[in-house]
C-alpha cells in the first residue's frame, strides 16, 4: 500500500471515529433527558399511589385543568414509566454498541498510524 492510500484510509477512519463520538454524545444527552423524565414520572407515581382513592385529580391540558379519573391517571403514569424505562434500555444498548464501535475504530487508527511510521522509517533508512 502506498503512503497516499494509507493517508487516505487514516483520514477516513478518523472521520468515522469522529462521527461515532458525535452519535455517542447525542445518545448520552437523550439518555440523561429520559432519566430526568423517568424521575419526574416516578415522583408523580408515588404521589398518586399515596392519596386516597376518592381524591380528585386534574390534568393540565394546554392552559386548562381537566378533571381526571384517578385510576386512569395511575394507569397513564404507570404506562409512561414503563415506556421510558424501555427507552432508557434501548438507549443504553445503542450506547454500548457505539462505545464498542469507537474502541474498534480507535484500534484500527492506531494500527494505521503504526504502519505510517514504519513506512516513514523505511524511507528514511533508504
Amino acid at each position: 500500500m502506498g503512503p497516499e492510500m494509507l493517508q487516505k484510509k487514516l483520514e477516513e477512519e478518523v472521520e468515522s471515529y469522529k462521527k461515532i463520538q458525535k452519535d455517542l454524545s447525542k445518545t448520552t444527552n437523550l439518555r440523561s433527558q429520559l432519566d430526568g423524565q423517568l424521575n419526574e414520572n416516578k415522583v408523580v407515581q408515588e404521589e398518586l399511589d399515596l392519596i386516597d382513592d376518592e381524591s380528585v385529580v386534574f390534568k393540565l391540558i394546554g392552559p386548562a385543568l381537566i378533571r381526571q379519573d384517578l385510576e386512569e391517571a395511575r394507569q397513564n403514569v404507570n404506562k409512561r414509566v414503563e415506556y421510558i424505562t424501555q427507552e432508557i434500555k434501548r438507549h443504553d444498548n445503542t450506547m454500548d454498541k457505539l462505545e464498542k464501535d469507537a474502541d474498534a475504530k480507535r484500534e484500527s487508527i492506531g494500527m494505521l498510524q503504526q504502519q505510517m511510521q514504519q513506512m516513514i522509517r523505511k524511507q528514511m533508512g533508504k
Binding site: D35, G36, V44, E47, S55, V56, V57, L65, A73
Partner: protein, 169 residues
C-alpha cells in the same frame, strides 16, 4: 376557587448519576455545583409553598384577596374554599389535597430534596479532593521537568564556556 400551590422545579436524580457527566474532574465539579444550585432553588420553592399552606386556616374562608391575573395586574376576589388546595405534582398532574395533606406533601418534598443535596455534596467533595491530588501531582511533575531542563541548559552553558576558554588559550 382553588389556590394553586405551584412547584415547577423537579429535582432530578440524574444529577447523582455519573454517566453523561463530563469526564474531567473540573467539568464534573461544575456539573455537581449546578445541580446543587438547582436543588437549592427547588428546596426554596417547596419551603415557600409550605409556608403559604400554613396561612390557610378555616378562618381564611370568606376573606378578600387579590387574584393575580398577570404579574402586575390583580382583581379582587373572596376565598370560597379554605380546605382544599391543588398541588402540582409534575408532568401536568394536579392533586386536590386538604391543608394537612398539602403540608405533609411539602415536608416530604423538602426532605427528599435535602437528601439528594446531601448525596451530591458528598460526591462533589470527593471529586474536589481527587482534583486536588491530580493538581498536586501535575505540579510536582512540572517542577521536575523544569528542573531537568534548567540543568540541561546549565550543562550546555558550562560546556560552551569551557570550549570558549580552550579557544582563548
Amino acid at each position: 376557587m382553588h389556590e394553586v400551590a405551584e412547584s415547577c422545579a423537579q429535582p432530578s436524580e440524574s444529577a447523582v448519576r455519573e454517566r453523561g457527566a463530563a469526564s474531567y474532574p473540573t467539568k464534573e465539579l461544575q456539573f455537581f455545583n449546578e445541580s446543587l444550585q438547582q436543588l437549592k432553588i427547588a428546596q426554596l420553592k417547596f419551603n415557600e409553598s409550605g409556608e403559604c399552606v400554613e396561612k390557610v386556616t378555616p378562618e381564611t374562608k370568606g376573606k378578600e384577596m387579590l387574584v393575580p391575573l398577570t404579574s402586575c395586574m390583580y382583581v379582587p376576589g373572596t376565598i370560597a374554599d379554605a380546605e382544599s388546595l391543588l398541588i402540582d405534582v409534575g408532568t401536568g398532574y394536579y392533586l386536590e389535597r386538604n391543608v394537612n395533606g398539602a403540608k405533609d406533601y411539602f415536608n416530604r418534598k423538602i426532605k427528599f430534596v435535602t437528601e439528594q443535596m446531601e448525596k451530591i455534596q458528598k460526591i462533589a467533595s470527593e471529586k474536589s479532593k481527587l482534583r486536588e491530588v491530580v493538581m498536586d501531582m501535575m505540579e510536582v511533575k512540572l517542577d521536575h521537568q523544569l528542573a531537568a531542563i534548567q540543568q540541561q541548559q546549565a550543562e550546555a552553558e558550562a560546556v560552551k564556556a569551557k570550549a570558549a576558554a580552550a579557544d582563548g588559550m
